[in-house]
């Protein structure tokens, strides 16, 4: 699958088949995140890759819209240093790593969705993340419960038009 097609077709998948992911697929997803660029190539992230069902179930209760983690074959919690003065750019970098992982997964036929962790202290405790790291973001991965979602056309109206967001040479 080429990049433009993956970008065109990818959609959020929140309901997953009860099927584990092959180890090489998990590795490919994590590797995609590893290869993402970051500010000054600092690679500030740590990834906690969770496949144990009870851990996923507990993580699913750390966000108001994180219930999908309970059904995921793989959850990946993105941790970054707790450094308020550069928190914004750390989040920018995590956004890049998340994108790389999700696009790589899509190519492998694996769906995904992002969760905001509303209770990061709970997530830190569940995963034994050190105090000097934040974990505000998690991703759920898995084969979709509804396989046709991987090949359906994008939902009309899911995105604004280019005219609504693009300015040429000046605003």
């Amino acid at each position: 699958m080429d990049v433009l097609e993956a970008i065109r077709a990818k959609r959020a998948i929140r309901q997953f088949a009860d099927k584990s992911l092959p180890d090489d697929a998990i590795r490919a997803i994590l590797n995609a995140g590893r290869r993402a660029q970051s500010s000054k190539n600092t690679q500030p992230w740590q990834f906690v890759a969770v496949t144990e069902k009870d851990v996923l179930a507990r993580l699913s209760q750390t966000g108001d819209f994180a219930s999908h983690l309970a059904g995921a074959a793989l959850g990946v919690v993105l941790a970054a240093p707790d450094e308020p003065e550069r928190h914004d750019w750390l989040m920018f970098d995590l956004g890049q790593a998340a994108s790389y992982m999700q696009l790589a997964a899509w190519e492998l036929g694996i769906g995904s969705v992002i969760a905001t962790i509303y209770h990061p202290d709970q997530a830190r405790a569940i995963l034994s993340v050190p105090d000097d790291y934040r974990c505000d973001v998690a991703l759920s991965f898995g084969y979709p419960a509804n396989a046709s979602l991987m090949s359906d056309s994008p939902r009309p109206g899911g995105r604004k038009s280019l005219d609504e967001m693009v300015h040429t040479n000046h605003w």
Copy 2:
């Protein structure tokens, strides 16, 4: 080019050939950013796409490491609402949009690199961006001055190993 290959091979390109980009390539890059996901699908971004050389030259002076913008065929400034309480997630979303644009460009044989805008008020003035938008991030795009960089193997040691960043089920 498939997604995993683009992710594997992509590197920052900072020096560009003196060659403009076709309109359909510019559109494909912007469209990739348009299709990126965002928190609650808010699509909070506005993109200022700059091809005028004098505007690029002025933008190149808004960041300590932004000189590459002066030589770019296309600069894209990513603007987002100036809302401090969600600035971190806006940056996360901009990170996703930037990734999509850069991976799409790479597939089209177009290199890119990210600049931090250290003087966003200057950039806002140059581009007539409204006061209620921030612009902290710009991307340079163009055909690489050194075409072999698009096909060379990734630089060894450019990224930490998976073992240095992945934890399984708990930290």
